[in-house]
Amino acid sequence: MTALELTAATKEHPGSPPVIALRSVTLAIAEGEFAALVGPSGSGKSTLLAIAGTLERPTSGRVRIAGTAVGHLPERELAAVRAYRIGFVFQQFFLMPTMSALDNVASGLLYRGIPAAQRRRAAADALARVGLAHRAEHRPGELSGGEKQRTAIARALVGKPSVILADEPTGSLDTAAGQGILALLTDLNAGGATILVATHNPEIAGAVPRTVRLRDGVIESDSGSTG
């Protein structure tokens, strides 16, 4: 089954002349796949991820997530898609500084209306999966960069989403921490997680089974589906 499918997705930002961030991109990510989206700045990586994550609507084209067409869903149902189907990882982590690592991870389930105790139990499991069980009660300010990103990844996977979308997950990290994150993502993928990562990092691009190269909003090359 396809976890994520874009069909002829185009994104135009209005203006004169209009800026075309994505030109009729068609891309399918199979369940259990680990793909990297690479390309120079401005090639459309982030736009593609935002559209895949329903944070933005394409100007035209179709998006399906785990078999559900999301193109015409009202805003409130898109929010539900994000709450249940998609896990996001960002370059800037976006952790709440006043909450412990555990509570940050638990907030990945916040918008499913699950009771707090249940969220925290799932969060503890997720933290253990990223190797941070011993840091559960620490606040983000007390964590290293690599640990912060692990916490953010735990938050993305705590709800067992259909796909994890990571935008430059190693962009704020040093080489060693970046390698740690890559190893973690590889591990998670081996455990069954579907991951699409947008990156500048050639190490990730080289290590990931599938590489999709973007340039000027068009797919330049695709090493092909492995799923």
Binding site: S60, R76, V81, A83, F88, Y111
Partner: protein, 415 residues
């Protein structure tokens, strides 16, 4: 590519499911927890922004509490004095001069069924001095009246010292001083050993009155017996005021016939008043005066609300990243708006609670200083807190809408 139908919606494509399954949900308890977290993230700012609300609520509670305490005090006082007293005074005669009540008035009034007692004071053309060396102009504004011996009982007044006039002392040069009059003359004993110079005669001070709230005109007076007033001071004994105690259930009926009874020949020249009503009216007047302070409190509350709105707008700008993240985690626009409105309401509630404590404290201090019992009615507190929260909610609406309107992708990008 799909076109648009006339309703502006894209037509459904074949095989597409319409719904995404389970809904995005944020539990109310979690909404409040998020609001508390938002406040706790910047505690100093939260405190400063709630300060305006705190001051507004403190003003409202203190003003209502102090005036309520004062009013409760006055009402208790009036109740203790009894509301069944009426006074009869001569009004203006038709020719414009001061009318004169018939001497028989008090006796006639006592014959009205529900009247429990009636006592008169009479005009005496004399002044009272501490001794015979005091210049005649130094009257200390003390008025001399002749008084019937049942006056104190009718007024339900109390003596600070000594005793009131009784049938024997009413015939001799004995005087009872009102509270202010005694203080003005410097008399603090009433055992008969102190004499005052009254209408060119020495009068022994036999009693000193406590202040009389229902007859404050007697506080600065010197009272002598009717017979001694007639014999030594040449007073005719025409009443200047008659105090009447009626059966509480018949006060209005008695008031209706008093004028005709006191002066059957010219009832239109008689004025009837109820001093308890006058006191109550004074209490109401003081409450009316408080509305100025209440308005000030309301303005403080309003300004506090504007302060909160300001801080929340800034907060929304600063927390774009958080807003974007929450949308990415599955929050709807409504969830985002609810979080910020809740935060604003919580700020205002915190400020309101602090203000209520402050206002209650101020009321207690003021009431204690005046020997009142402090009264801060629970409805007042509840209303002040509700007003604070309402201001908070209104203040939060605009920032919350701004937060909800942010596009998630943009919010995440601009950090």
């Amino acid at each position: 590519m799909s076109g648009r139908n006339p309703r502006g919606q894209r037509p459904h494509e074949q095989g597409e499911r319409r719904t995404a399954g389970p809904r995005s949900r944020l539990r109310p308890a979690d909404t409040w927890a998020l609001a508390a977290h938002g406040m706790a993230g910047r505690p100093v700012r939260a405190m400063l922004s709630a300060l305006g609300i705190a001051l507004g609520v403190a003003t409202l509670v203190a003003v209502l509490g102090i005036s309520g305490s004062g009013r409760a005090q006055l009402i208790a006082q009036i109740d203790a004095l009894g509301t069944n007293m009426l006074t009869v005074t001569p009004g203006q005669s038709l020719t414009g001069g001061q009318a004169v009540l018939p001497t028989a008035g008090p006796a006639m009034i006592r014959r009205i069924g529900p009247v429990q007692s009636a006592a008169a004071i009479g005009q005496v053309n004399a002044n009272v001095y501490r001794n015979d060396r005091i210049p005649a102009v130094n009257t200390d504004a003390i008025t001399v009246y002749s008084a019937q011996t049942n006056l104190l009982q009718t007024l339900q007044g109390h003596l600070a010292r000594g005793q009131f006039l009784n049938p024997p002392t009413a015939r001799f040069p004995a005087v009872v001083l009102g509270a202010s009059a005694a203080a003005a003359l410097g008399v603090d004993r009433a055992d008969g050993t102190i004499q005052v110079w009254l209408g060119d005669h020495w009068f022994a001070v036999v009693g000193i009155l406590e202040p009389l709230p229902l007859a404050p005109e007697l506080d600065r007076s010197a009272l002598v017996g009717f017979s001694v007033a007639h014999r030594l001071l040449g007073a005719y004994g025409s009443p200047v005021e008659i105090y009447v105690r009626a059966n509480p259930v018949s006060v209005a009926a008695v008031a209706g016939v008093l004028a005709a009874t006191a002066d059957p020949a010219a009832p239109q020249n008689v004025t009837i008043t109820n001093p308890a009503n006058a006191l109550a009216a004074r209490a109401d007047a003081s409450v009316a005066f408080q509305s100025l302070f209440l308005a000030l409190g309301g303005i403080a509350l309003l300004v506090g609300g504007i302060g909160i709105a300001n801080v929340m707008v800034i907060s929304v700008l600063e927390r774009r990243g958080e807003i974007g993240l929450r949308r990415a985690l599955g929050a709807t626009r409504t969830h985002i708006a609810a979080q910020f409105v809740a935060e604003s309401a919580l700020l205002a509630f915190g400020g309101g609670a602090a203000g209520a404590v402050l206002g209650g404290f101020a009321t207690t201090i003021y009431a204690t200083a005046r020997h009142w019992s402090a009264v801060v009615p629970a409805p007042t507190l509840a209303a002040a807190l509700a007003a604070a929260v309402a201001v908070g909610v209104v203040a939060g609406v605009y920032p919350a809408l701004r937060a909800a309107r942010l596009s998630p992708a943009e919010a995440l990008r601009t950090v």
